[in-house]
């Protein structure tokens, strides 16, 4: 009896080893491929996306359309809810799909270690918008899946009820508008979405509107001290955040808000404004009582010229370790040029310069609003802002310190806005010195 058990155990052990190594072999075979018969492109590719909401619907249609053109390529999808957080640990291995998005967490200088170059910058920038942002040494590694712009989504009906006739342009006008919303309606003037956190990071996208100068973020800011000094764009922009929190122009208890329901609340006219990228317009319209009530306007600014800064969404890129680079390249081209993802799903415009502008954008041009891409950093200073920002733990594109600003506004902290601005300035100056000396 005892012997038998022993044998069974050994057998089980053997089985396990064989089974495991078997898996390894099978996988190896599957992922081979590349271009073979008829000169056509073939192989299996895995596409990783951040859109958990449409991966089983819209993306499946994409796969079908793509296969009409490339019948020998099999496309499978993987959607990650917390894209940046989940993909970055996986990138320490070789197995992170064939086509994926460049996570914003990864320092720009490290991109060539992980992604396949797509072409020379000189050539690519004639064809695509926003490719400069993450180019390294004159090579482009990713193309933006969409180009979006940041401003304020507002409910026209609520504005009309509050007696606001013209879309507010300056900070003072905007604050007055919010106050009249508070006085004349039951709607929440500015919904912050503090609890979800990430909506607060949307503000940073409007910094060029506040500065009124596309050179500010990448060229001017890294070369000067005290970006939060009074009168500078960051100071002015976040002062609005602080003031609205302080004057009770935001939701009653920001700690328990919820993004999904905020969309519906805005659609019902219970919220007057939210600071969000253009990608959100369609999402809010889709749950609104009357989609025509939902409008979009540039972020307030004291600058003379009103700029809608164009910002690149995630960049689509190819895994350096992919075994089917040709098929992956075909998907990238198809996705950028033919899927119409950027307009239909991302609420922006296509990165490809030969695609025409959507109708909706023309109305802004009539109002004298300019659409501009940020000027890329000077040679040798690529990614500098990002580096200083991380070292200083300010997090321009992270929610933490925005939450701190709001907490101070509500009165949950002892610090005033001046104290905070001073703290950020100090952190920035020290970090800047450290990074520059490296």
């Amino acid at each position: 009896m005892k012997k038998k058990r022993w044998a069974a155990f050994l057998a089980a052990g053997l089985f396990l080893t064989v089974g495991l190594s078997g898996c390894g072999v099978a996988k190896e075979k599957l992922s081979e491929g590349g271009s073979k018969e008829n000169g056509g492109i073939s192989g299996d590719i895995t596409v990783i996306t951040q859109r958990t909401d449409i991966v089983d619907t819209v993306f499946q249609d994409y796969a079908k359309q793509f296969q009409e053109k490339y019948p020998d390529v099999n496309v499978s999808f993987e959607a990650l809810a917390d894209y940046g957080g989940q993909i970055t640990p996986r990138m320490n291995t070789k197995d992170y799909g064939d086509v994926l998005l460049i996570p914003t967490q990864i320092p720009i200088a490290d991109i060539p270690d992980f992604f396949e170059p797509l072409g020379d910058l000189e050539e690519m920038k004639e064809k695509y918008m926003g490719v400069e942002e993450r180019a390294v040494n004159g090579k482009v590694y990713g193309i933006p899946i969409a180009v979006t712009y940041t401003g304020i989504v507002y409910n026209k009906k609520v504005f009309a009820q509050s007696g606001i006739k013209e879309v507010p342009k300056t900070f003072d006008e905007f604050k007055t508008a919010l106050k009249s919303v508070k006085d004349k309606t039951d709607a929440i003037p500015l919904y912050s979405n503090y609890a979800s956190g990430w909506p607060l990071t949307q503000w940073e996208g409007a910094i060029t509107t506040v500065a009124g100068n596309p050179d500010y973020y990448n060229i001017k800011m890294p070369n000067e001290d005290n970006p939060f000094a009074k009168g500078k764009p960051h100071y002015e922009m976040y002062e609005l955040m602080y003031d609205t929190a302080k004057e009770g122009l935001i939701e009653e208890d920001p700690l328990t808000t919820d993004w999904e329901s905020s969309k519906a609340m805005m659609g019902r006219g219970e919220i007057a404004t939210m600071v969000l990228g253009s990608w959100a317009i369609d999402q809010i319209k889709s749950v609104a009582d009357n989609p025509d009530d939902i409008g979009y306007m540039p972020f307030p600014t004291n600058a003379e010229k009103v700029i809608f800064p164009l910002g690149a969404d995630f960049q689509i890129a190819i895994n350096k370790n992919s075994k089917n680079k040709e098929a992956a390249q075909a998907w990238v081209d198809w996705f950028i040029h033919e899927s119409n993802y950027s307009v239909e799903q991302a609420g922006g415009i296509s990165a490809a310069k030969d695609e025409p502008l959507p109708e909706e954008l023309k109305q802004y041009e009539e109002q004298g609003v300019e659409f501009t891409l940020l000027t890329p950093a000077k040679k040798g200073q690529e990614g500098l802002v990002d580096k200083i920002d991380k070292e200083a733990e300010i997090g321009f594109w992270l929610e933490d310190n925005k939450k701190v600003i709001m907490e101070a506004g509500i009165g949950n902290r002892d610090e005033s806005y001046e104290d905070l601005a001073e703290r950020f300035n100090k952190a920035w100056n020290e970090a800047s010195k450290k990074v520059m000396n490296e």
């Binding site: 005892k2 012997k3 022993w6 155990f9 957080g85 970055t88 990138m91 967490q105 990864i106 320092p107 200088a109 490290d110 270690d113 992980f114 503090y194 609890a195 956190g197 009653e252 208890d253 920001p254 700690l255 328990t256 919820d258 991380k390 733990e393 997090g395 992270l398 929610e399 933490d400 939450k403 907490e407 509500i410 949950n412 902290r413």
Partner: protein
Amino acid sequence: MFKLSDLSYKNQRKIIIFTFSLLPVVLLFTFAYLPVFNMFHYSFTDWNGFSKEKEWVGLENYKSIFTNPEYFVVFKVSVYYFFATFVQMGLALYFATILSFNVKFKNLFKGILFFPYLLNGVAIGFMFMIFFRPEGTFDTILGMLGLGSLVQHWLGNPDIINISLAGTSVWRYMGFNFIIFLGAISSIPNEIYEAAEMDGANRWHQFRYIILPSISRMVQLNIILAISGTISAFEIPFIMTGGANGSKTFVIQTVDLAFKYGKVGLASAMAVVLLFIVIVVTVVQRLAFKEER
């Protein structure tokens, strides 16, 4: 053919012990010790989590931890969880004792008390978000009891937020302590109670002189687990507030530094510091309990 029975009993024993423990040891090594070794290594570098190369910076990371008081301020939050631990222990012990006697619907109550521990932490986070919302469940209950005047911004008020979160934590983990206590109590033979009853001992005497001494080891274990849990409180505040509004704990801060600001080196050093704090606290506790005996 090779037969195991050909070997001496002693050798058989050795082989079996070796083969049986091989798998768990390999797993333990790969998933516990190896990462810890790596963490020690990272803590001496300036690795950002992605770069192929990491630069050796020696004790730089430790220096910046111990010279920046702001990195330690967050331990203030742990104090709330520390006090909550005792409430949690007290409740667990109370319920375990009551339910070890003959009570109606005993198993139903056991199930109800243990249930929160089985729930997923994320689900609990969302449940309590709704619970603490203005005009949410908690406010409604208070209103029904005529205590409407006590209504607060349970998460919005920075003086209360940690109490609310620690309360959630008690609700969640109490079941675990409870089940351990209950197991220990039920191993006490019935004869002892009977004898005690004959001697005229009431329930309190039974608890004080029979139950408590018999389960003192379990109390000790639970306290060690709870206190190291206190120092490294993470899940509930992370899901519910992400560390906002003064609810940031040491572990949330570590995670933020590593994954938001790309300072894996510094975060590893903080994790090492935390590890040592937990070890020291545990050793101190063990010594304290030993003296008692």
